[in-house]
């Protein structure tokens, strides 16, 4: 079912939602960046923006994520889970990020389910903003995660000029519309077909970045990427971990207690499989001591048929963030391209 909301009514909608929870939306900082942030007023939200470099996964899987509180009580320890039950509305997530959150949620729903994550994602309503103009480095068209979505959102907005088309994709999406029912009307047929036209047009505007996963997947899954190629590519990685930390689908973590005065908070820390010590074992043995092995592992997880079968998607939503953030030159399209062609920088 599709609705429409006039642009001038959006402020009221946001104000209404602010009464019942926290709104996370892209906000322009004084330094000129756009960051997903909790807002205090509707005016802060930006509606025309390239996708922020820092992904909104911060609001389901924060970089520092307190999981349980451990308190000493005489001879015993009391353990109390920490649940973030705040109702949140994520506004203007781009299609790739909505897909990313859906990917993370599927992963954390697998048994044993991750209660801490799910409490956050259950309370999060994703209101995505379809991308009529793809971002310069995005390649979501190669990962089936944009520029417009047919799933993975609670509500999807499309900018129609004077109004937004609002497609509802879940009960949470229905709720955000019904809570401010008077602001919405049923979308006209014309508006729905306008949205389809915009989607068609957007597909023609993609930049040069493409990512041919199919061929890379065949080679990776069947061990047909020579070790020498991984080694060569490894020299172009500076082990910053940025690709993992900003990837909408990466969820690797480590655990560390933050202790003070007899109380400890056990925290999940976002981590990178590209860091040398990520797989270091207590014995001192490291199964992936060399950078080429770590890189191989990362792309096996992202692109292999085995994981594709399990996750129903490659571990990439084509947001293009790793291209910008990579301190070296080993981002997703570069590696997939090298694997497909069997050569690197030649």
């Amino acid at each position: 079912m599709a609705f429409a909301i006039e642009k001038k009514a959006v402020t009221k909608w946001l104000e209404k939602l602010l009464e019942s929870g926290e709104i996370v939306a892209p906000v322009r900082t004084p330094c000129g960046d756009v960051l997903f942030s909790t807002i205090r007023s509707a005016e802060q939200v930006v509606w025309d923006f390239p996708n922020p470099l820092h992904p909104p996964k911060e609001f389901v899987l924060p970089q520092t994520d307190p999981l349980v509180k451990i308190r000493r009580n005489g001879q015993h320890h009391e353990v109390e889970p920490i649940h973030d039950g705040t109702r949140r509305f994520l506004f203007n997530a781009r299609s790739c990020d909505a897909k990313g959150i859906a990917f993370l949620t599927r992963m954390h729903e697998m048994e044993p389910a991750d209660a801490s994550y799910l409490r956050r994602s259950d309370n999060l309503t994703v209101i995505s903003l379809a991308c009529a103009t793809p971002c310069p480095l995005g390649f979501c068209i190669c990962t089936d995660s944009g520029p417009f979505l047919s799933d993975s959102y609670d509500a999807q907005l499309t900018d129609l000029g004077e109004s937004y088309l609002v497609e509802v994709g879940s009960a949470k999406g229905e709720a955000v519309v019904s809570e401010a029912q008077s602001l919405f009307r049923t979308a006209t047929e014309d508006e729905v077909s306008q949205r389809k036209k915009l989607e068609e047009e957007a597909r023609h505007y993609f930049g040069e970045e493409t990512c041919h996963f199919a061929s890379a997947m065949r080679r990776i899954s069947t061990g047909r990427v020579p070790d020498t190629l991984w080694e060569k590519m490894g020299d172009w990685c500076l082990e910053c971990g940025g690709c993992n930390l900003i990837c909408p689908t990466c969820y690797c973590f480590s655990v560390k207690d933050l202790g003070r005065d007899g109380t400890w908070i056990r925290c999940r820390l976002r981590d990178s499989c590209q860091y040398a010590a990520f797989t270091l074992e207590a014995s001192g043995h490291n199964p992936r001591a060399q950078r080429k092995d770590r890189m191989k592992r990362r792309f096996f997880h992202k692109v292999s048929a085995q994981y594709y079968k399990r996750d129903g998607a490659v571990g990439c939503v084509g947001c293009g963030r790793c291209i910008k953030v990579c301190l070296g030159t080993t981002h997703m399209p570069a590696i997939v391209g090298a694997i497909r062609k069997g050569k690197w920088h030649e």
Binding site: P30, C31, L238, E239, C240, G284
Partner: protein
């Protein structure tokens, strides 16, 4: 969630990011696409910058040592005691001193300098990283004047040629390495000079093999080869050019060196990156000077898009120098004996400055009876760490201002808790000369106070003319004391990211007189056939910003667990010849003495060399003495 823009506190690349905070607590880091250095990219350290502040052993209350224990006291009591004890020592005619820090802000360093010179009436003021970078900076200064014309980190990416003498750029300065990678990807010629096939050396068009302490020999070869090509029309003839030409006539040049020289001489845009070397002080100075001469005579120091960058380890080395936290320099990095600068500072401080230069960091630790250490742990920084610790243990009254509990803080007689980089206002100056703001993101723990505030209070108690009510007051006074920093506050606030590039106010003509080279390799003998070199110039693993970060400290910790007695690295060929496998102990003997230490076998350097990582330098201090490179005998035991 709060997202506050701030400067990275680690290396001197000077990246910027947003520190994220929730409910008054740091939770992470977000990159910035608009930051002029970072452009959205960060290294592993930057990505985990929040961790040490959160997980670190933080100082919360002032502590005074009583009956062998550090006990909590009020700020008033602590400050009274510190001032009283220092005055007592001064009245008794005992030497006192102050150590600033390359991880402290400009404002903290400036006040540390003022406290020493105007308050304690001594030029015994330095910072512990200074002994390491001093020869490098002195060499560059000989050729270029106060500051070598620097290339912007982002311009490196469009260089056609990059000459790099490195420790290991990918590890020491990942952001600079990033620009080098981008340039090489676009087809630039990377020429690496070093003794190890590092990641950068593997990507280089040419790797010019050097022996430790002898990088200058290679650079002199390049200089001679460039001189053969003749001066390119595009540069003014530097002072001493003809003498340099004559001095290098007999230098031998290999084909590789000729090729590299041609690339450098013909490039439109070239970057010259130089790390502090492990050679002896005087030789390191000469090597750095040769490096700068090469840049000068090829015209790359007076054209935009080209330039030189000294690869300084910590975030605010340049700032500490500019603030005059150096025994023979005033704010503005002006020589202490420069009459005009001296008058400027004396007028400003309304105080007569002591005339003679003070002691440098290593000597200062040995000589003073009273010492104030600002935000540093000298034993983990200076080349002879154990000796520094032993010296500090003998100091009658040691005052430490720090945010973190370090080994130095543990032995302090008075401990004054100050803010970390995430809890204070202030500025840092990166290696390009870019001044950037730190901003307050969270409250400091317990009763910790901003470092500038504590130092301003101490300054005031020794020196009636010192009065600072805000960090802005300090920034304003810095502008008066160091002309390059004039109107800094206004200039900073004009830019979103708050970055100001310092301009060289008094650019000198380049001076390129020849200097000799001592070949270390020639000093080996049948008795001591190996060269042992201290590798690297800084040990991040003991820096609190790394050691307290769960993510960043992991690999270092495991290395120390596996090698509790440290190790030296030996080449595969030598190991085979001596029948050594990894973990096996060897006895190293030099003119200074001997040490027994395990080996690690490596394949990325030539035979005849042994390396001790900077972190384990004290394990072979008997062998190295005060040297960075020495000849040794190696015996399997």
């Amino acid at each position: 969630m709060l997202a506050i823009p701030t400067a990275c506190p680690f290396c001197s690349c000077g990246c910027g990011f947003y520190l994220l905070a929730r409910e008054g607590q740091l939770v992470g880091v977000a990159p910035s696409e608009t930051h002029p250095v970072s452009e959205g990219r960060l290294c592993a350290r930057g990505w985990s910058a929040h961790e040490a502040v959160l997980w670190g052993d933080r100082l919360r209350q002032p502590l005074l040592q009583r009956n062998g224990k550090q006990e909590s006291v009020s700020w008033d009591e602590a400050l009274d005691h510190v001032v009283g004890r220092l005055k007592q020592l001064m009245n008794a005619g005992k030497p006192v001193g102050v150590l600033g820090s390359s991880r402290a802000t400009n404002e903290e360093n400036y006040l540390a300098g003022r406290l020493a010179r105007a308050g304690l009436q001594t030029n015994n003021v330095d910072f512990s990283y200074h002994p390491i970078c001093r020869p490098l900076l002195a060499g560059l200064e000989e050729v270029c004047g106060k500051h070598a014309p620097s290339i912007h980190l982002n311009d490196i990416a469009s260089s056609q040629v990059i000459l790099l003498t490195e420790g290991n750029l990918a590890e020491t300065h990942p952001r600079a390495a990033s620009s080098v990678l981008k340039a090489v990807e676009k087809g630039a010629h990377l020429i690496s000079v070093g003794y190890r096939k590092t990641q950068m050396a593997r990507l280089a068009s040419l790797h010019l093999q050097a022996t430790p302490g002898n990088e200058g020999e290679v650079i002199n070869g390049l200089l001679a080869a460039v001189l053969d090509l003749g001066l390119q029309d595009r540069t003014l003839v530097p002072i001493g050019y003809d003498a340099l030409r004559r001095g290098l006539e007999t230098v031998k040049k290999t084909e590789e060196v000729r090729q590299a020289a041609e690339w450098i001489a013909r490039a439109e845009r070239a970057a010259f990156l130089i790390a502090p070397s492990c050679g002896q002080g005087d030789q390191s100075r000469k090597d750095a000077a040769a490096f700068a001469k090469l840049a000068a005579i090829t015209g790359h120091l007076d054209r935009s898009g080209s330039g030189l960058l000294p690869l300084l380890a910590r975030s605010n080395v340049r700032g500490a120098c500019d603030m005059g936290v150096v025994p023979d320099r005033l704010p503005g990095y002006d020589p202490l004996n420069d009459a005009r600068s001296r008058q400027r500072v004396q007028d400003l401080w309304d105080n007569k400055l002591p005339p003679a230069p003070g002691l440098s960091a290593e000597n200062l630790l040995e000589a003073v009876s009273g010492l104030i250490v600002v935000a540093d742990d000298p034993p983990s920084v200076v080349p002879m760490g154990q000796r520094a610790m032993a010296a500090m243990e003998r100091i009658e009254f040691l005052v430490v201002l720090d945010a973190f509990i370090t080994p130095t803080a543990r032995i302090a007689h008075a401990l004054l808790p100050i803010t970390s980089f995430a809890e204070t206002e202030g500025t840092l100056t990166n290696m390009e000369g870019r001044v950037q703001r730190l901003r307050v993101v969270t409250d400091p723990p317990g009763g910790a106070r901003p470092g500038w505030q504590v130092l301003a209070e101490l300054c005031g108690r020794f020196d009636a003319a010192a009065s600072f009510n805000s960090v802005s007051d300090v920034i304003r006074e810095i502008g008066q004391a160091a002309p390059g920093y004039a109107r800094m506050e206004q200039r900073l606030s004009e830019d979103g990211w708050g970055g100001v590039l310092l301009e060289d106010l008094d650019r000198a003509k380049f001076v390129v007189y020849p200097t000799g080279v001592t070949a270390m390799a020639a000093l080996t003998s049948a008795e001591r056939p190996y060269l042992l070199a201290r590798e690297g110039a800084f040990d991040w693993s003991h820096d609190p910003l790394v050691s307290f970060s769960p993510t960043l400290s992991r690999d270092y910790r495991s290395e120390r667990k596996l090698f509790p007695n440290g190790f030296v690295e030996i080449g595969k060929g030598d190991a085979d010849a001596l029948n050594l496998s990894g973990g096996r102990q060897v006895r190293l003997t030099s003119v200074h003495g001997e040490s027994v230490v395990p080996v690690r076998v490596r394949t990325d350097f030539k035979p005849g060399l042994l390396f001790v990582p900077y972190v384990f330098r004290d394990r072979v201090s008997n062998v190295l003495g005060a040297d960075g490179v020495t000849t040794v005998r190696v015996e399997r035991i």
